[in-house]
């Protein structure tokens, strides 16, 4: 049965601004299905972003939304969550927004383990501004600012999140559309800071420069590199060369959650009066 996306899309907002074949639309649909499956109430759900093509997402969603400053989604979202801990707060954005200018906000949101979900659309590039390299651009790949190949190693967003203290970390791809909503729903249900990285495509500024002939070639790459964590357990290091693990990569239910800890601080302060 066709899924009814219309009830979560602001009237008159489609078609969206994303280029033909840009995976951001696939991720947005996954998020909508997740919110719908969990029966989230629009007035109790905030979708918060920074700046970039990916960060345009909240403009389309019919719930509480904030489109903020570049790299600052985590800061604004933290404000929302602290003022209204009962709200479901979902951050969305790109690899540039989240790991370059917003890298600091990202790691500290992880460290605090504040009960929010961060969906990061990693297309390995600054799409919106014409294809400058991001901290996620793979070594050797081309961007407008690395025409002879990127000398930097790229971040592994999932490992970064785990290292910084996030308590739920998952990865999917824009090709594996059916999995996106499941990962996001599980992340939203997790009590703590959850990160869902979706490997994405930007045919316009990344694909073109890196010799992908079409959107289809980019989608096929996502299909080929992804290995579900369960399947990877049975594979050798050699077989896993060049592959990327997908699914739930990390989960820890034991770490204190920030808004709950902060409520205790308030109690202590009031008792001390």
């Amino acid at each position: 049965m066709a899924f009814d996306y219309d009830k979560w899309i602001r009237p008159g907002k489609l078609p969206h601004i994303w280029c033909p074949g840009c995976g951001h639309g696939i991720v947005m649909k996954g998020l909508i299905r997740a919110m719908d499956t969990l029966n989230l109430k629009k007035e109790e759900t905030a979708v918060v972003s920074g700046i970039g093509c990916a960060s345009r997402l909240p403009g389309y969603i019919d719930c509480c939304t904030l489109h903020t400053a570049h790299g600052r989604a985590a800061a604004f979202a933290t404000g929302v969550k602290m003022a209204k801990p009962e709200m479901n707060v979902i951050l969305v954005g790109g690899d540039g927004d989240g790991t370059a200018i917003g890298g600091n906000h990202f790691i500290h949101a992880c460290r605090r383990n504040i009960n929010m979900t961060y969906i990061i659309m990693n297309n390995y590039i600054y799409g919106m501004t014409g294809g400058q390299f991001s901290p996620c651009t793979p070594t050797g790949h081309k961007a407008s600012t690395t025409p002879y190949g990127n000398p930097d190693p790229g971040f592994d967003i999932a490992k970064l999140a785990i290292g910084a203290g996030a308590t739920f970390v998952a990865r999917g791809t824009a090709f594996h559309a059916n999995q996106i909503d499941k990962l996001i729903a599980e992340a939203i249900q997790h009590k703590g800071f959850s990160v869902v990285e979706i490997l994405d495509d930007c045919p316009t500024t990344y694909g073109r420069r890196n010799k992908y002939k079409s959107v289809i070639e980019m989608m096929n790459r996502l299909k080929d590199v992804a290995v579900p964590v369960k399947a990877a357990e049975k594979m050798t290091a050699e077989q896993l060369q060049g592959k990327v693990l997908t699914g739930v990569l990390y989960k820890d239910d034991t770490k204190p959650e920030y808004t709950a800890e902060y409520a205790k601080v308030i109690e202590r302060a009031q008792a001390a009066k």
Partner: protein
């Protein structure tokens, strides 16, 4: 008994002609017709929903009562 066919709706004002639905349909049901995706062989459709799930543009709906 006659097989009840699903309904595939392509919303042309949303379709950006990316080819994703056509390329990854396991049953070769769809084709590009000019700029837009179009149904070529409805009989073969197994309602797997892959095209609807992957369309980045909310442009394809598969209904199966």
């Amino acid at each position: 008994m006659e097989k009840k066919l699903p309904k595939i709706e392509i919303i042309e004002k949303y379709c950006k002609g990316c080819h994703i639905c056509v390329e990854f349909c396991p049953k070769d049901v769809l084709e590009m017709k000019g700029f837009y995706a179009s149904v070529k062989n409805l009989e073969a459709c197994i309602s797997c929903m892959q095209c609807e799930l992957r369309c980045p543009d909310f442009a394809i709906k598969v209904t199966n009562e």
